[in-house]
Amino acid sequence: MRIDAKGVYYRDLNKKIREVVAAGADKIELDNVNGQYFIGDGINKPVTITINGVPGNDLGAFMNGATIIVKDNGQDNIGNTMNAGKVVVHGHAGDVLGYGMRGGRLHIRKDVGYRVGIHMKSYLENKPVLIAGGKAGDFFGEYMAGGVLILLGMYSDDTEKPKHGFLLGTGMHGGVIYVRGGVDEKKLSNEVGVFSPTNEDEAELKGYLTEYCKDFKLDIKEVMKEKFVKIVPKSSCPYGDMYTPMPR
């Protein structure tokens, strides 16, 4: 099923997508998408939506089980409060990716912006994984409460840019961040510590990255060539003592 989205208002486009999904489509290809907001939002069927063009903000928000493949760049707020499913972006993406994400996968090939993985969370089998192949802006993993954030720093258009920005893991109190080739410790927040991954961690990491590499036809051996560091919060309640001392 192909839909030409050229000049189509976002509401009309999303209504059309929902109708097609309700009618049982399992593959939808959207052509000439440019800036339409909210594509794939709240869709709870295992449909695959391929997007040719740059989709607008809040792509895949509240999504529950669908797959979205973006052949170009993405914008801000992808996977906002996403529950399950996958978003694959072949270019770069913007700020506030995976906001409050509670399950599923978000695979970005190139750079990502500020506040990526902000307040991601996990519960039992619901464990979101967000992987960025390029470099990241400031506040990576801000207020992170659960799930897995992985930064490769490998596939960026900007060679000058540092791998990650300032205040990585600020306010982080759950979950784990893996960064390929180490981090700049001056740019970490006070709330996190840097460790070497355990053998179990390595196995889990390799599982996530194998899927990522398959999506972009990358060589997993190349990705695993360098060591990763593991970043976890020092406390599950970093601001507990900010206003009143907490009973221990």
Binding site: N34, G35, Q75, H92, D138, D157
Partner: protein, 372 residues
């Protein structure tokens, strides 16, 4: 000529706006329909209570004259302003700003433009000879007086070879009203407003201007009070009931009056945090320390993405922690800046480069030497 107190006394504006702009460094003239297409893509970032455009290179036949775009809310304002202009300026040409009557724009004010130069009055001679003032300073003084003292008259823009067009409506409706497709320019910026704290009125739409500075802004300047009082010490009076106004005057003060290069002025507006300054090499540390100390009252607090333009070029700037979106792209001699990449791709489908600037790091694009 005492101005009535406005019914609203809000001091700031929170907005979830959209902005876009581009520049041709070599001075290629581009029709207004291009910027309209870009801002119209972000229609839903605004709510119909403000749209506006700034265009550079649109009046080459009058490029040596200050182009005053005037907005009049009543006949008395028009009459008083024309008397004022007549006694202070040589008026080379004056005319209605061409508009198109459309259904979307309900009750527009009257718009006129004047291509003018200061007259050699005694007051002018005194200012130039004894007060160390320039023509630009004299013009700034007149802009402040008209805005502040003539009830219902507002200077929409006052630069050479440029103009601002703005009002209440969605930007594409404002563009239609002002027949923007009939203009060509080498720098264009546009704004789609979503006012939440101040009235959506014609003067409150972006861009805000002074001389050939124009500012479009997405965000909220929580330091408005400090900035406003600081500017008042230098004779700038804020009359537009909206926070963005201070940015226009601040840049005029820092760049034109105090002679700071644009990148240092940007660092005064969005200064790095102290711990970051302290980690820099000694000479940079001293420079940035001095800027923060001297221009503490020029620091803009709160979330913002702004585009500021002049005849010299186009600059994009984010707040230090990037709380508002800003994306840039380049293609040949064009540079584009917008709230959303899609707004750029709408008018430049295959850019050479697309990037997201860092918070607090200005993207400065200057016109090629000898152009404009």
């Amino acid at each position: 000529m005492n101005k009535l107190k406005p019914t609203h006394r809000f001091q700031k504006d929170i907005s979830n706006c959209g902005l876009t702009g581009f520049i041709s460094k070599s001075g290629k003239l581009v029709g207004g329909e291009v910027i309209i297409k870009s801002i119209a893509l972000m229609h839903d970032r605004g709510n119909g209570l403000g749209g506006g455009f700034a265009a550079y290179g649109i009046y080459p036949e009058y490029k040596d004259f200050y182009a005053f775009h005037m907005m009049y809310e009543n006949d008395m304002a028009l009459q008083l302003t024309e008397e004022y202009l007549d006694s202070n300026f040589h008026i080379e040409q004056q005319e209605d700003i061409p508009t198109r009557r459309t259904k979307a724009i309900a009750t527009p004010p009257v718009f006129k433009r004047y291509f003018i130069k200061p007259l050699q009055t005694d007051k002018y001679k005194e200012a130039i000879q004894f007060q160390n003032m320039t023509d630009d300073d004299v013009v700034v003084g007149h802009v402040m007086r008209i805005n502040n003292e003539i009830e219902g008259a507002f200077v929409v823009s006052s630069g050479k070879n440029m103009g601002a067009f703005k009002g209440v409506g969605y930007p594409e409706e404002i563009a239609d009203f002002f027949r923007l497709e009939e203009y060509t320019g080498y720098i264009w910026t546009a704004h789609n407003r979503f006012p939440t704290n101040t009235p959506g009125w014609w003067g409150g739409a972006h861009p805000f201007t002074l001389l050939d500075w124009s500012i479009v802004h997405n965000g909220e300047i929580s330091s408005y009070g400090i900035n406003k009082r600081y500017l008042e010490m230098y004779g700038y009076l804020c009359t537009m009931l909206t926070d963005t106004e201070v940015v226009a005057y601040m840049l005029d003060l820092l760049i034109r009056k105090h002679g700071l290069p644009p990148h240092l002025a940007s660092l005064a507006l969005a200064s790095p945090f102290w711990d970051m300054i302290d980690s820099l090499p000694e000479d940079e540390r001293q420079l940035l320390t001095a800027i923060r100390q001297v221009y503490g009252s020029a620091l803009l607090n709160g979330p913002f993405a702004i585009l500021f333009a002049s005849n010299k070029g186009l600059i994009g700037l984010n707040d230090r922690v990037k709380l508002r979106p800003l994306v840039c792209a380049s293609k040949d001699d064009f540079v584009y800046m917008a709230s959303e990449e899609a707004a750029i791709r709408e008018i430049c489908p295959a850019p050479d480069k697309v990037w997201a600037p860092r918070g607090g790091q200005p993207v400065i694009v200057e016109m090629d030497k000898g152009v404009a």
